[in-house]
């Protein structure tokens, strides 16, 4: 028995697209925590749910799933979280959310959860959509047939939530209200034998001496285990029994899986007439009418390109004002602190390492927030499933998930939010593969580097009298990076990240207005996670880089430049004095950089005789705050590069591309790898 002080746990389960997240947000308020399930990178949320009698209980989100059956460790989370298999704590009750408009399919999961013997309450969500779809549900009859409390709710409007809380409260007080025993039993004696044989092999740690739970886990094993699965914790003995029963059944011309699934569905179909009335819709639904355009061969693809162009443009330049604001803010703080602290090492550390580091973390926020805003709207409205569908053929060819498209596209703007966005894919393999190739896409920070290198190596001439060489090279670089990323994905997907082939079985949810509080909350959570988790690493590296580039400090060099500065006082013309002071600063920064540890290690990486070193030299020779004048006649790529704030480009360029052609382009004592 649970200790009296223990906080009760309620697992929140349901099919994908049932409004589970919105319900979670509604029930828990604002203090939800995002974390990973132990052992796998499957995210889940936990939040406190206040109930009148039971007080505060912990609501734990379970990944959306159509069934408890699993093939991969990620899918296994559902059964672990619901049945409470190690390492996940057993819940005291399970709240299953079902979509009112797709009741029969959703009830499949409900039956499975009831079979595990845990107290269950069912929330029929989107109840306000029933009339629109020509359906009506008899909730009391459904509750009687299922043997568990059933509450009709609308997570969007908040309807029925008080009743749901009350039902959950009563259930936690009296679990027997929600534990009716399995609704369905094997009809054939052969299947009964199969289930019993497998149940005998279920490990004690799983079944906890509960007969019903043991049978439920046996059914789970019969549907889930096979020679290709990637499940954890199944003993060889259990696998052996399952394989033996399957072979035996095949010899008798039976298919165990089909019998089990058919058994559950025939229970649902047999009773459906009692609780569900369906009237055929008189006119096509809004979703149908919208899809007629958005999935139209020509119109749909144009709409898709337009939507993607919008996302890309917003990331590429729409975030600029906010980024500029953040940079000026940090620049101002930096200037203020620089004046405030006495000149010296502490001053340099605080300004060039700490403030610079925090600034270079915060500067990513506008793009991250924008990207997740777009993703949230696309997911919530139902368009993301259509994007995955439209891009499936292309992405499948290189072994990527259809959902990888939006993160990959975002990679052209900036790799950091793009990699964060891979979180929207469920399978680890898909995420890893996408993360590996995103940095190969040409991000906007590389644009000025390409500009410099191309300008340094190729004169502004034309092929055939009208095709500008420099422009073509720039387009070529983009194509090259895209092809490289796709080829790498194809190779990695067939070697390092080889996984079982997953059929595309995508549900196309009806279009809905996004639930703004949920979308904004997701944007906020992602931004916060980036600040707290990635931010620390970036800050640490900034400080480390600062140290590498600042030490050892040669006192002779410092003294020489100090003397030069002192001599400046004699200069009468203020304009000349200022320009001379700037020159001294650049020269000093360059001198210190050359003698630093960082420069020494960089030299070790690339010997001065290599062709790359000469590129670096010629590029830094022409490096200036804006692209060199030679480039001005070039087409779009060049004009984009020069139109963008050069200071932002250099800042991100230095950060993302490492010690390359940007060299000593910095104009102040701040290190070149991140100076505004």
């Amino acid at each position: 028995m649970a200790k009296p002080t223990r906080v009760k746990r309620v697992a929140l389960a349901g099919n994908p697209n049932t409004g589970k997240t919105t319900l979670f947000n509604r029930l828990t308020g604002s203090d939800a925590k995002v974390g990973n399930y132990p052992g796998v990178t499957v995210e889940h949320q936990e939040g406190r749910l206040e109930l009148p009698l039971s007080g505060g209980v912990l609501l734990v989100d379970v990944p959306g799933t159509y069934s408890l059956s699993a093939r991969s460790a990620e899918e296994q989370i559902a059964i672990q979280a619901i049945a409470g298999l190690s390492p996940i704590e057993r819940p005291d009750a399970v709240l299953v959310v079902v979509d009112a408009t797709q009741l029969t399919r959703n009830l499949y999961l409900v039956l499975q959860v009831i079979e595990t013997g845990l107290p269950v309450v069912v929330a029929i969500n989107m109840i306000d959509m029933l009339a629109v779809r020509g359906l009506s549900i008899d909730t009391p009859t459904l509750a009687r047939l299922l043997g568990v409390p059933v509450v009709a709710i609308s997570s969007q409007s908040g309807r029925g939530l008080d009743e749901l809380r009350a039902a959950l409260d009563f259930l936690l007080r009296d679990p027997s209200r929600g534990t009716p025993g399995p609704r369905w039993l094997p009809e054939s004696p052969e299947l009964e034998h199969d289930v019993n044989a497998v149940a005998a092999a279920i490990p004690a740690a799983w079944h906890c001496d509960e007969a019903q739970r043991r049978r439920a886990l046996a059914l789970w094993a019969l549907l889930s285990l096979d020679e290709h699965d990637e499940l954890r914790g199944a003993s060889p003995e259990l696998r052996g029994v399952v394989a033996a029963r399957r072979k035996l059944a095949a010899a008798e011309g039976r298919e165990i899986e089909a019998e089990i699934i058919q058994g559950r569905y025939s229970w649902i179909d047999r009773h459906a007439a009692q609780f569900l009335v369906e009237r055929p819709p008189t006119r096509p639904s809004t979703t149908d009418r919208v899809d007629r355009v958005l999935l139209h061969p020509a119109l749909g693809f144009s709409a898709f390109l337009l939507a993607m162009a919008l996302v890309f443009q917003a990331l590429f330049s729409g975030a600029d004002p906010a980024i500029g604001l953040i940079e000026s803010l940090f620049g101002w703080v930096q200037g203020w602190v620089r004046e405030l602290l006495p000149a010296g090492l502490l001053n340099e550390f605080v300004c060039n390492a700490l403030i610079e580091g925090v600034g270079s973390v915060v500067v990513f926020l506008p793009q991250i927030a924008l990207l997740f805003l777009f993703i949230g709207v696309m997911e919530d409205s139902g368009y993301m499933a259509r994007v995955a569908m439209l891009m499936d053929r292309l992405m499948k060819a290189v072994g990527l998930h259809g959902r990888a498209f939006v993160p990959m596209l975002s990679g052209y703007a900036c790799a950091v939010p793009a990699i964060l966005a891979t979180r929207t894919m469920e399978r680890r393999r898909d995420r890893m593969l996408t993360m590996m190739v995103i940095p190969l896409m040409t991000c906007s920070a590389r644009l000025p580097v390409y500009t410099l290198i191309i300008a340094a190596l190729f004169p502004a001439s034309q092929i055939l009298g009208f095709l500008p060489v420099q422009g073509l090279l720039m387009v070529g670089m983009y194509l090259f990076s895209t092809v490289t990323a796709l080829v790498c994905a194809a190779v990695l997907g067939r070697t390092l990240f080889k996984g079982p082939k997953v059929p595309l079985l995508l549900e196309l949810p009806p279009y809905r207005m996004p639930h703004w509080p949920s979308v904004l909350r997701m944007v906020w959570q992602r931004s916060r996670l980036f600040l707290t988790q990635a931010g620390g690493v970036i800050l640490g590296i900034t400080c480390g880089m600062w140290a590498l580039l600042s030490f050892p400090r040669d006192p002779a060099v410092l003294a020489r430049f100090e003397a030069e500065r002192a001599a400046l006082v004699a200069e009468v013309d203020p304009a000349r004095r200022e320009s001379r002071a700037a020159e001294i600063e650049v020269a000093e920064a360059g001198e210190l950089l050359r003698t630093s540890l960082g420069a020494a290690s960089a030299a070790a990486w690339s010997p001065p005789s290599s062709p790359w070193a000469s590129i670096g030299r010629s590029a830094s020779a022409c490096s200036a705050p804006s692209p060199p004048a030679r480039c001005s006649s070039a087409p779009w790529a060049w004009s984009t590069a020069s139109a963008r704030t050069p200071r932002r480009n250099r800042r991100r360029c230095g950060r993302n591309c490492g010690p390359s052609a940007t060299g000593t382009a910095g104009r102040s004592t701040r290190p070149w790898w991140g100076s505004p």
Binding site: Y66, S67, S69, R71, T101, Q102, T104, R105, Y108, R133, L223, D226, H228, D229, E257, A258, I261, Q262, Y265, E278, D291, L295, P297, G300, F301, M389, L390, M391, D392, R393, K396, G402, P500, K501, P503, L504, L505, L506, E507, L508, P509, P510
Partner: protein, 75 residues
């Protein structure tokens, strides 16, 4: 009897049998695509190489190659 991928958009059919790997069949069946289920081809999306189906009031997409594994009886 014919393969699902040959059906024209808008046509209805009864699912007769499912082919392909065990896991693929299980997944389809758990989504409600059991032998005997009535389904409707809503549209073909050639850009993505997929079919959109309506089964039990919900919309699913399957790849054309995977739809070929399903035998149906048009009605």
């Amino acid at each position: 009897m014919t393969n699902l991928d040959t059906l024209a958009p808008g046509s209805r059919a009864r699912l007769v049998s499912l082919g392909g790997e065990r896991a693929f069949r299980c997944r389809l069946m758990e989504l409600g695509l059991l032998p005997g289920t009535i389904l409707r081809v809503v549209r073909r999306v050639d850009v993505g190489g997929v079919l959109e189906l309506e089964v039990r009031g919900c919309r699913l997409t399957v790849r054309r190659g995977e739809a070929r594994l399903l035998l149906v009886e048009p009605n």
